[in-house]
């Protein structure tokens, strides 16, 4: 017998965790000597009150959709991919290589190949830890952490020694050509007669991210590969007995995960910066963990949680601009969300299960 109805598991527990995180964050804001209610108002105004705010919120959300999906796909296979950050960095390298060295006639074709390049680089970077876990038994969490640092060193080397134009001091690649400029939401919506902020960075990649959400849903729940991934994640012994190869599933699931994390780069590298810079990922790979936990590893949940974190990011930037509250408040909120929805899940779940059981007993 289920201890709790499904809706409680999917909706109530994340909501309670979010409320706990919000309450603690409010205490932090009070301790700094600011008004939490005014802070929330400012955040809502700054992130959702204008098309400019929405443009930034959706831009961040696009990043988090990719990294959140990456963590979610790996989680369905029972793997904790903490290396989204490194995979996204390598994805950026893939995008830069595609955009810098090939003269594309039109952005649509460039986008297609940049997506492929970003995905390939990200997948390749995830494939090594996956292979080592599947074949050599090294723990995927430790290896992917190490690969984040190695990726940072690789990127640093390539930017300083290979991609940096000779005339520049900045460790960054040259600007991409005008032909690979991705249309922003302003340029996309203007023909439809909808006015959208010109300066906000949200771009066509948002649509790619939404397609990715749908594709992941199809993959996980409507294909036999998805079925194999899920059964492997639930019980490795069971999956093995059913003839599912653990090596194959580990490597494929991690490569899909790495490809998704890498594809984030078409948003931040191709869509926004239009060149590859150091630290282009800005921690989005790690936010994917919070997003996937919050969204319960479901693509739709990830979609919503990504928008929530996009809102927090843009709202947090506004807070830092207008109040004494530094941007790092967002890092604290992110930590609390990971803590409550991930590590302290049982703290919320066990009392809730007791309440539901008590109600059921009364009903009988």
């Amino acid at each position: 017998m289920e201890k709790m109805p499904k809706w409680a598991d999917v909706v109530l527990i994340p909501l309670i965790s979010l409320l706990l995180a919000a309450a603690l964050s409010a205490l932090v804001i009070l301790a700094i000597g600011e008004d939490p209610i005014a802070a929330v108002k400012l955040m809502v105004d700054g992130a959702l009150g204008s098309s400019y705010g929405w443009g930034y919120t959706l831009y961040y959300a696009t990043n988090f959709m990719f990294t959140g999906l990456a963590v979610a796909v790996a989680a369905h296979a029972g793997l904790f991919n903490i290396g989204g950050e490194g995979q996204a960095m390598l994805g950026g390298l893939g995008v830069a290589v595609i955009c810098l060295f090939i003269p594309w006639p039109h952005w649509t074709i460039a986008l297609l190949f940049a997506t492929l390049g970003a995905g390939l680089f990200g997948a390749a970077w995830a494939a090594i830890p996956a292979y080592l876990q599947a074949k050599r038994g090294s723990h995927i969490v430790i290896t992917t952490i190490m690969f984040n640092f190695i990726a940072a060193a690789v990127l640093n080397y390539v930017l300083v020694n290979v991609l940096k134009p000779a005339s520049s001091m900045d460790p960054a690649s040259a600007r991409f050509s005008e032909a690979v400029h991705l249309p922003s939401l302003h340029e996309l919506l203007a023909p439809l007669g909808i006015a959208f902020s010109k300066s906000a960075p949200a771009n066509v990649t948002l649509l790619v991210a939404i397609v990715a959400c749908l594709a992941v849903w199809l993959l996980i729940w409507r294909t036999s590969l998805g079925f194999e991934i899920r059964s492997f994640g639930k019980s490795e012994a069971g999956a093995r007995y059913a003839g599912i190869s653990p090596v194959k599933i580990t490597i494929i699931a991690m490569m899909i995960s790495g490809a998704l994390a890498g594809m984030m780069a078409i948003n931040n590298v191709m869509g926004e910066a239009e060149r590859l810079v150091l630290n282009a990922t800005e921690g989005a790979g790690f936010i994917g963990i919070a997003v996937a936990l919050m969204g319960r590893n479901h693509p739709f949940g990830v979609f919503l949680a990504a928008i929530l974190f996009g809102f927090l990011y843009q709202g947090g930037a506004e807070l830092a601009l207008w109040t004494k509250i530094p941007r790092e408040l967002i890092v604290v909120i992110q930590a609390l969300v990971i803590l409550f929805t991930g590590a302290l899940d049982n703290m919320v779940r066990i009392p809730l299960e007791k309440i539901f059981l008590a109600f059921r007993r009364e009903a009988n």
């Binding site: 080397y157 604290v332 803590l339 590590a343 899940d345």
Partner: protein, 335 residues
Amino acid sequence: MDFLTLIQVLDSTVRLATPLLLACLAGLFSERAGIFDIGLEGKMLMAAFFSAAIAASTGNVWLGLLAGVGSSLMLAALHGVASITFRGNQLISGVAINFLAAGLTVLIAQDWFKQGGRTPSLLSGGRFEGLEWPFAIGPQDAEATGQPVSQLMKAANPVQQVYSELISGHSVLVYLAFLAVPATWWILYRTRFGLRLRAVGENPAAVDTAGVSVVGLRFAAVAICGLLCGIAGAYLATALQAGFVKDMTAGRGFIALAALIFAKWRPWQAMGACLLFGLLQAVALRFQNIELGPIVVPVQVMDALPYILTVVILAGFVGKAIPPRAGGEPYVKER
């Protein structure tokens, strides 16, 4: 490269290896008891901030150390509650602790000191000074002779150079860190507590059957881990550097974790691994790109080498690293 340069590189190796060693031993206690800890970084960072903040405001470095250890113990308690009491995912808890520390330190630093997320620079009383050993060349000799220490050191004979530069002149925490290695070995392999600690990381059910509390042992291990991480963080902010800056641990918690795996969860080997990784950092700091004949090793390779070595070791290409068997799994008592 002359002899003195070599000694100077080794001297900075010792300094840079100290925080790694303390954090590595911290992780050793925790992981040997079956609690994975990827939150070493966060605990160090928290301790670095609070030790610098309290040392800056009271002018007393020992109060700073106490505050640093206290804050690290708080995070360790959080990790314990999440992963032992509520049987949560230990890896996720560690990730959360790292972010909590990264955010809170800057948040509080900005609120207290308003210097863009850093503490004021620590003056002499707020720092751990180097301990001058008898007969070693130090600032006092420099005052007496009127020559700078570097001049005196160059003129000294090699034995004196090794003694004065490498052995003498470190802060008390450095010596403490290296003494912690035999202490850890002794606790782990020569005491009843150590035997039980190792057992609880391999087979908690057996420990439970013997009537020893699994929960109690694991909390003790997590607390020792918090204590050592606290000292490591305090060393960073009050001895190695003079004050806290944002994200000052800079991945050291993860290098310590790498060293722990490299050492296959054993104390003496942990010291060796930390010294090796400390040497890599010292060399990268001093030489940037290294020319080995026709090949130039770029500085980024030195940065990434600890991580690459760990991956290679973990993959079992050079001897297999096998973690404690019950690591990462919450213990559920049978009913």
